[in-house]
């Protein structure tokens, strides 16, 4: 290493004085940014094309029940991945936030429960539902960020449970045990969005959008700061970041994604009831995120796909083996155990391990940088 180049110091001195606004000429930083074609791994392009032509390949049941549900659960788990993977906050309230958005669409919009539902148009009830879901998630976050680790899990589980019991017991707003049915998506552009193909594209669109936004935000100042808070919150304060403000903002952002997922989930089954956000589904979101992997935004969607496949076909498998069909939860649980046992990073972790072993240099025993 050479000695200090004084001209380098002189170069940055302007910045010492003038804080963030010292602009240096752009041409001093010749950066050839990678084009979108080379920046995205080829696997994603294949996947994108495959997903786009999927309706030509599979049945309506698969489109609506397998893929539609995968995308929805994937989005809700993605909101947990954002909080857990980037922010280090494992929140069990994401399904309740989704449920809140679903309830609000049913209450403000049209449903079969005309005594309660206000029947407002979609451009009013959907934004309103999302705003309320975000407020709910943000308030929960404001409470939860005062805790760390296991206590964050406990407090969010407590709030999720409270939400479940409250919706089950409150009949004036939430219609108690039976909830709302007949909650249908608006017939925008003359399309019945609950038909298999339109619903598939609707959920694919929102899932892709949330995936892209989360991937993008992860490299923005906000996303980087959140990862900094995860790694070392004390140091983040020592850099001028308000740690709790960042954490709460992360909850708000995650709530928006969970809220959109919740509305789609409500439209898919055309109903919302306390059980939608009961303790079972609340834990399932965590299971999905962990099975897929919490480190990258694609993880929750992989996890959701596996979960949906198990949930849908485990009964058939069990029955064909001569076992009782109602033991399908056993199969889900066993798969969860196996994946967590062999790879704490979920399927993504297994994938990374395999990639690494393939790129390993036999001489140095180090990976030759094949990982992105």
């Amino acid at each position: 290493m050479s000695s200090v180049d004084q001209s380098d110091l002189a170069k940055v001195q302007g910045f010492y004085f003038s804080s963030g606004s010292s602009l240096r000429p752009a041409e001093t930083k010749p950066q050839s940014g990678p084009s979108i074609w080379s920046a995205v791994p080829s696997g994603y392009w294949v996947l994108a094309v495959l997903l786009l032509i999927m309706p030509a390949l599979v049945s309506d049941f698969t489109l609506f029940q397998i893929f539609g549900w995968t995308f929805i659960l994937g989005m809700i788990a993605l909101s947990l991945m954002f909080l857990g993977g980037y922010g280090g906050m494992v929140s069990l309230v994401q399904m309740s936030v989704a449920g809140m958005a679903g309830y609000m669409v049913a209450i403000f919009g049209p449903s079969a429960i005309t005594d309660i539902s206000l029947g407002w148009p979609w451009w009013l009830n959907i934004p309103l539902a999302l705003i309320i879901a975000v407020i709910f998630g943000t308030l929960t976050g404001a409470l939860a960020v005062r805790t760390e680790g296991i206590y964050t899990i406990m407090i969010t589980l407590a709030i999720a449970s409270a939400f479940f019991y409250f919706t089950r017991q409150n009949y004036t707003i939430f219609n108690g045990f039976s909830g709302f049915n007949g909650v249908l998506p608006p017939e925008l552009f003359g399309v019945d969005w609950r038909q298999a193909k339109p619903f598939y594209y609707l959920t694919l669109f929102w899932a892709t959008l949330s995936f892209l936004i989360v991937s993008y935000v992860s490299r923005s100042p906000f996303g980087l700061a959140l990862q900094g808070v995860r790694d070392n919150s004390r140091r983040m304060s020592a850099l001028g970041f308000s740690v709790n403000a960042h954490r709460i903002a992360a909850y708000a952002f995650a709530s928006l994604i969970a809220g959109i997922g919740g509305i789609l989930l409500t439209w898919q089954s055309a109903q919302i009831s306390p059980g939608t956000a009961g303790q079972g589904p609340v834990i399932d979101i965590l299971v999905i995120a962990v099975i897929g992997g919490l480190r990258k935004p694609i993880g929750p969607f992989i996890g959701a796909f596996i979960y949906v496949l198990l949930k849908t076909f485990a009964i058939d498998v069990l029955v064909s083996l001569g076992l009782s069909g109602d033991r399908f939860q056993l199969l889900v649980g066993m798969s969860f155990l196996l994946i967590v046992f062999f790879s704490p990073d979920g399927i993504l972790g297994l994938w990374d391990k395999w990639r690494e072993s393939r790129n390993r240099d036999p001489l140095t025993e180090r990976s030759s940088g094949g990982l992105q």
Partner: protein
């Protein structure tokens, strides 16, 4: 070594930064239960002043830093930073006013790259810290981050994850992060600890090459480093200030020699 970069008098620098003292501690104490880690510390540091804090292990040097930056609040006493009472401020508010620090044991974001670490440090004190938008190619903060990486000679590893850096490189990264934004005053907590002789002399050059208006306090066990980069020395012992003076005075003081250099026959 370019000592010439440091103006001769503090008064000369004062004109750059206003009249208030950079740092003014009045009766600062910190008790952990019954243990007095800091006892009634009063200290005035002028803008642009470069001061070394010496003292044996447990003298309260790092505790002093923690109280100044707000990592924890002092039990009693007041702290003023450029005239403003920051005693009750949370850490991030103090940092936004131009105070910086490094940590004795590197506190870095080990899963992020070198450049990301410095970029984060730059974001922390900028208005864009909540931005959901990625920096553009000619982003001023990215450019500044790259310059800072260059200043501490880490450009070869700027895209490497911090967990893969050597110890010395991590110490250099700590310094780059403390220099980000527009620091008015920096606290260096044993920046030379664990560095090789070459890295030490490089560190001395980085410190002496800092802009003139930027004062700092440096905790340093290596007398050689400490006395070369400071113009005033505070000796601490058992949580209190033991002696203050010019480096030469402190070096020659028999009491200091007895205490600090131990029975090393006064060398």
């Amino acid at each position: 070594m370019s000592i010439a970069a440091v103006p001769a008098t503090v008064a000369e620098r004062l004109s750059n930064t206003g009249t208030a003292n950079a740092l003014e501690l009045r009766g600062v104490s910190k008790y952990f239960g019954a243990l007095g880690a800091l006892v009634d510390i009063s200290m005035t540091v002028q803008p642009g002043e470069r001061r070394a804090v010496l003292g044996s292990n447990g003298a309260g040097k790092t505790t002093l830093f923690n109280c100044i930056t707000g990592d924890f609040l002092p039990t009693s006493g007041s702290i003023r930073f450029f005239g403003e009472d920051i005693s009750e401020f949370p850490a991030h508010e103090r940092i936004r006013r131009g105070l910086r620090r490094t940590y004795q044991i590197s506190l870095l974001f080990t899963e992020l790259t070198v450049l990301d670490n410095v970029y984060l440090a730059c974001c922390g004190v900028s208005r864009g810290r909540f931005s959901f938008l990625r920096p553009r190619k000619n982003d001023a903060l990215v450019a500044t981050s790259e310059d800072l990486v260059h200043v501490v000679h880490l450009e070869d590893v700027k895209d490497t994850k911090v967990s893969e850096l050597s110890y010395g490189q991590q110490r250099q990264l700590e310094i780059a992060m403390a220099l980000s934004g527009a620091p008015r005053f920096v606290l260096f907590d044993e920046p030379a600890a664990g560095l090789s002789p070459t890295e030490r002399s490089e560190l001395v050059e980085i410190l002496t090459g800092l802009p003139e208006h930027m004062g700092y306090i440096i905790i340093e066990h290596d007398m050689d480093v400490a006395l070369r980069v400071s113009e005033y020395v505070t000796m601490m012992h058992n949580g209190a200030i033991f002696k203050e003076g010019k480096p030469a005075e402190i070096e020659d003081d028999p009491e200091v020699q007895a205490l600090y250099l131990g029975g090393d026959d006064g060398a």
